[in-house]
Amino acid sequence: MTRPSRFNPLTLTVLLVLLLTASVRAADTVMDSLTGEVSRIFNQVAPAVVKIRAANLDQTLAGTGFFIDNRGTLLTAYDVVQEATRANIDYNGTLVEAKIIGRDIRSGVALLKADLADTPFIVSGDSAGLKIAAGLVGVGYAYNLPVSPSFGIITGFDVRYLNNFFATTHVRCSVTVSPGQIGGPLLNSNGEVVAMMVFSVDGGRECYGIPIKSVNRIVADLREHGEARHGWVGVGVVEANLDQPYAHAVYVSQIYDRTPAANCGLAQGDQVIAIGDRRIHNPQDILDAAFFAKVGSTVPVRVIRGDRELTFNLNIIERPALPQPAATPVPYHPPAPPPAARQPVQVNAPR
């Protein structure tokens, strides 16, 4: 006697159909949800995003900007205004002149001010908490078309693009950028600006955004001094080759003349392990630490030399436009694996 099957073919077919139907419904729900979220964010911030025109020599530059307060203060990318002396914004269909408060070619940030009151503005979010694969919404004016959104995800955090280093870590994302959208905000799911589009790559299929925390640091300088003041101690570094056993280490490769680092005791081959409170594991850490160092302050730089750990207190000065390396820089190659014992030694740099 055979035992009867618990599920006959008809029951299985019905279950399969129900399962497929549920899957399709779930997909619809996710797509609808995503559409709703992007639409909500776009409608929330679009009034605060404006079209910018700037007259630079005999050329008119065009791009996007956005209000960061209700008094008409605007952020945009340096590439939108470059060295222009005046700029206009298209605010609610009216052309309004905007004063260029300051610009920073190194970070690619420009700050403008229009004589407007009660302007809608976008709140700054927490760019330090961004994670790979997080969704971002970009908003900007492509060509002379109306403002439009684009959606993408964070694909990385880079300090280097091909052979060039950014001033600080940038957010790489798959938000498409058309000409004219540079300078627009990149927004998180709360509709807060977490980065600003400054650099498009791969024909506009991806873009780099400078995190809003870094933007705010530049904005503070532009408000206070009318120009960005980048920190400088005069130390060139090189990253260890990844095929070496002690990888992800950063070593002093050269000391620049007439800088706080000159004659302070730092030497080629010292392994940099911390700048201030920030631990150094790779060049990204170095650039971020230098980017946020305030001119006029003192920062402790901790290094490992041989079997000893040394600390040098260096004054931060303003970074020159073209730093001059030491007269006879010696090419430096990272050393062998580190020693086991480390003896902390305090060394103060001459002021």
């Binding site: 065009a62 070619i105 060509y143 280093f165 873009c207």
Partner: protein
């Protein structure tokens, strides 16, 4: 007499319907047909025959079609003639005074006409692409 003649005539006609030519006739017909075919093959066509054929087809067999095509061609020809001969005096003409006073706009094409643009937006701006690295260093220093 008349009735007889009519009856005889009807009978003769009925018989005529059943009458068929003899075998010689069919043999001769085939030979005559093949001779005609050969003559057609070797016959040299007259120089004017295609033209006569075309006229016959155009105006005898399908006159409406010919009139429609001809009318259309005449209209196009008239428009082209007016455009070419009258171009110099038109406002949009290449050599007109108006065209020289208002030269053609820049070669760059605006994607969408912007009716509300201000005067300083008349020229096509350079839309920022952010593809030019600014001061990105090739070495790391702080």
């Amino acid at each position: 007499m008349d009735e007889l003649d009519e009856r005889k005539l009807g009978k003769l006609l009925r018989l005529k319907k059943l009458e068929t030519p003899g075998k010689e006739y069919f043999d001769g017909f085939l030979a005559e047909f093949q001779r005609y075919q050969r003559a057609e093959v070797f016959r040299r066509a007259s120089r004017w025959e295609p033209l006569l054929m075309w006229f016959r087809e155009a105006f005898v067999w399908a006159p409406r079609r010919t009139l429609a095509i001809g009318g259309g061609c005449a209209l196009v020809a008239a428009l082209v003639t007016v455009g070419v001969l009258g171009g110099g005096s038109f406002k949009g003409g290449k050599n007109s005074v108006a065209a020289k006073a208002n030269p053609a706009p820049d070669a760059q094409v605006r994607l969408v006409s912007d009716a509300g643009a201000a005067a300083d937006e008349q020229s096509v701006p350079r839309y920022s692409t952010g593809r030019t690295p600014l001061t990105y260093d090739q070495t790391i220093a702080f």
